[in-house]
Amino acid sequence: MPMYVCSSTALELSVVFSNALKKQKRNSSVGDFVKRVLRGDPQAVDLIIKETQNDLIKFCFGLTGNMHEAEELAQEAYIKAFASLKTLKEPTKFYSWVVKISKNIYIDRTRSTDELGQNRTIREIEPGALLGVIEDMGSSNPEELAAVQNVLNLMDPDDKVILLLAHHQELQGPEIAELINIQAGAVRARLARARQEFIRIYEDQGE
């Protein structure tokens, strides 16, 4: 039994390590492409988008719960990012920068909808609907994934963002703090609140 625990922990650690390496490699390639764009190479725009689009759209899908809105949100974020690319101090941070931009656009849109007194459209997602937009369901079951997306759709936008940054984009406390402009020490408490909110809605939905 101890052997099992050890190998399982080792496996998880190796997955975490491998993911971190992949992210580092991606950020480094994207950093090089950003420098090429700044030198006037328009082909590098395509390379940056191709390198980051899957992760960004996945994040946007988590926020919006709708593929068309996710693509539109990602598109707007890319356009804003490229329009002010010269202001990006560290090219290797392009991806987290574009995530931050998409998060800001999403929060602004949600707030302006709320200010106008319009109710946000909250669509319940049927498990079958996910099959059309999700390439690989892996070993997960569609009912459960649809339930998670439905809970995310019902969450407060700020709570949803922090939950996705931590559990979906696998970012660490200091990175999250930088992205949502809060003190690093406050991330843990905000995350705990978001988790609690997620669990509350998930259990309410199940009743």
């Binding site: 759209i57 999700i134 994934l145 559990h167 669990i199």
Partner: protein, 202 residues
């Protein structure tokens, strides 16, 4: 935390881990669609100086009615101003005015979504192709099969660019017409794209 509510920490982690493992299927056209727009925006930024008057007009124009009023005011300042605005609007209707393709292989035309000033005013996009061309879309096959004209309804908040695939069975040069209409079917802009299809390989 989890003890108070019921779900265990492990169960929460498992749910979110499964959710994270899902791969979203990104449209194969997404990168080209965005980068066409990015490049147009970068080009626009580079040409900002001669188009300053247009930008000023756009900033005044909060809706279509205001936009046309602003154009009228701009016209009073000189016909050239109006021409610049027209040229500018025209240039944003499609990304290409001519392109080439290979017989038997679907070719994509990227049609820009409305610019901010036109958003809300433009509600219908119509694409017309000659008899010898076919619309091609695996996803929308039942909707485009056998048609030579398609109309897409645009929501006011829509900014996406539209990739439209066409397929030729014979060599030749074909014209594709793209038109933008208001909700009341008033023509707001149009552009013709020439596509030259050649046989691929030898």
């Amino acid at each position: 935390m989890s003890q108070n509510i019921g779900m265990t920490e492990a169960e929460f982690e498992r749910l979110l881990k499964n959710y994270r493992s899902v791969k979203v299927q990104v449209s194969p056209f997404f990168a080209s669609r965005v980068s066409a727009r990015v490049k147009a925006n970068l080009k626009e930024a580079a040409e900002a100086s001669p188009l300053k008057v247009v930008e000023e007009t756009r900033s005044i124009a909060k809706n279509a009615w205001m936009h046309w009023l602003a154009l009228g005011v701009a016209m009073a300042g000189g016909v050239m101003t109006f021409q610049k605005v027209q040229d500018y609007r025209q240039s944003r209707l499609t990304s290409q005015s001519s392109l080439s393709g290979i017989v038997g292989i679907p070719t994509a035309i990227t049609v820009f979504g409305p610019t901010d000033d036109a958003r809300g005013a433009i509600r219908i996009l119509r694409v017309s192709i000659p008899e010898k061309l076919k619309f091609h879309s695996e996803k929308l096959a039942p909707l485009v099969e056998g048609k030579h004209q398609i109309e897409l309804a645009l929501k006011p908040e829509m900014t996406l660019d539209f990739p439209i695939m066409v397929l030729a069975q014979e060599e030749g040069e074909y014209s594709v017409r793209v038109e933008y209409f208001s909700k009341m079917h008033e023509l707001l802009g149009q552009k013709t794209i020439k596509i030259k299809f050649e046989k691929g390989g030898k």
